[in-house]
Symmetry: D2
Subunit: 186 residues, 4 copies
């Protein structure tokens, strides 16, 4: 009989492979852009948006000014800011519009996606590929046993949390002190 | 036959009466607390929360630092900050908990509600009464033809927008300039 | 000295005038479309979205199946459904995309806006004009003392709540019974 | 020099260990409760809430009726329903209140947490332990290199997605067909 732990192992194995297949230089360029930016905006839809919100929340705890496009109090984007677009296909309508607008304000745009040749390409300055499988069957794609685009959404969260852990180590942040900047009303 | 305009008139009449029954001094004390605060936090549930979010958004356009409790990136509250609680009954569990916590951090707490003698009383420094009808049948209550607590939620929005208009006038803000600080990615 | 009640009166007067200027037939056609629809979807941005969410919440209490585009669990739209777009200008990018998609699935699209000749026109089956002032200075526009598009957002909420009150009366709903269908965990 | 892939590996290793340490029977009892329930509600705060929202969204695609406490249109909970509480410490104020209320309506309450002896214990029927480290230093805890409670939030998402994959396999769902029930307006 197949048990919970066995099925979980299939998923964690997929994640290990996927994260290990992300290009180090692409990830480090994204990290540099985050550290350089005045403010970091995030845009995506569905479960991708949820992963981006989790990243925004963790990075905010590390002192980075983060905003999710559409949140209640959202400042204007400027040329000193970074927009991070999460979109596996690179073809979602809403993120594309927002990326186009961000470029009009001369912001830097980073795209995290699965397809390096999408419509997002002409609106973005940076690209980080999470090489999960697409309809295009590109070389190097990681197959998934999971429904829909779960592997992309999970990998996106872990990509963000890996950058967060890198920042913690570089800044030799005392992990206990992080709770000081955390929302204290929850 | 009763037409849309006739029914709308019943609602706008209720609103005129309700807004006119709010105590000027209570409203002005709330405005003073907003202007004095470093950051202004908002808490409520349901449609009350939606009215508070609309107020937070408009005040943010006027340069006030506003946050909704539970939003993705929420800073810690301090003794220089104001928490505005919206709760008609003053008995909603979540706002009560948050108000109690805010007082532990020595923040100022303002309660906007219908019942001046609720559990919120011991956790708040300021009270603004929107005198819509309650189960307690207090003196001076405005009856409503509308279902549930619609009149409270509508009045709350208009109370906030009246404070916003007052700030605009006091600061002789150029209304066209407001769009500069507005989210530009939407 | 100008007091809170005086400024509030300016706002409630604007609202009375605006709601009274909405065309009865347009409002009644929208109501008929809501009652006919299997499911009712709402789309908008910023404070307009907040007004739409409040309407969705109240109509849900009256037994109508309502959904906000982008919410966590959102069903597919079909030809039996209605999409209500809130957009004063009728030019917001995101609502336009969603309206276009809804038409592809043969859903009915209703637009509530200030400008009857916007890009939304070709993607909508119904239009309700809230005749607040626009950059186009159309005949019959109601001027506003308020910043930005507050008058539109407030009027939108009251338009929805007027439809809700109409439904309550038509169905001779017992108002106390409404709380039975209300979220009971808050 | 430490590279992105190396740091990511530390995180994916933690996740593999944690998911493998979840008790199969506890996970399977939760799955049985989900399948038995009429409606499944979710409550949590912060990043835990984001993981729960992602789970709610995926399970909805599999035909399960899921709701997040506080969402715009939320039905009443009944004795046929399940409330899933995500709380590492089992001491967060808001989830505790909601769990208590759910028990008053005779709903089943499942707690996913790190501490088996928390205040949540008396309000829940089921418990799934994600054995990440707590302040209590319980036996069997998995240490983490990550800041704050990232490991709990990530593991929670993967726990939910493992249950989703199990459902897909049990029902021999055609994975391509899932997109039919997916929101089509995004």
């Amino acid at each position: 009989m197949v048990q919970f732990n066995d099925i979980a192992k299939e998923i964690t194995n997929e994640l290990s492979t996927t994260l290990n297949s992300i290009d180090n230089t692409e990830a480090e360029n994204l990290l540099a852009a985050i550290k350089k930016a005045d403010k970091v905006f995030f845009v995506g839809v569905g479960r991708v948006l949820l992963s981006l919100q989790a990243i925004a929340k963790r990075l905010a705890h590390l002192g980075i000014k983060t905003y999710v496009v559409g949140q209640i109090t959202e400042p204007a984007i400027t040329e000193k800011d970074l927009l991070i677009v999460g979109s596996g296909s690179g073809e979602s309508a809403f993120p594309l519009i927002i990326a186009k607008k961000a470029k009009q304000f001369n912001a830097t745009v980073a795209h995290i996606g699965a397809n390096p040749n999408s419509s997002m390409r002409e609106h973005s300055d940076l690209f980080v590929r999470i090489p999960v499988s697409t309809k295009l069957q590109l070389p190097g794609e990681i197959p998934s046993v999971q429904p829909m685009t779960s592997l992309f959404e999970q990998s996106l969260l872990l990509l963000g949390d890996t950058l967060a852990l890198t920042i913690v180590r570089e800044q030799t942040i005392d992990m206990h002190s992080l709770w000081e900047y955390h929302a204290n009303l929850e």
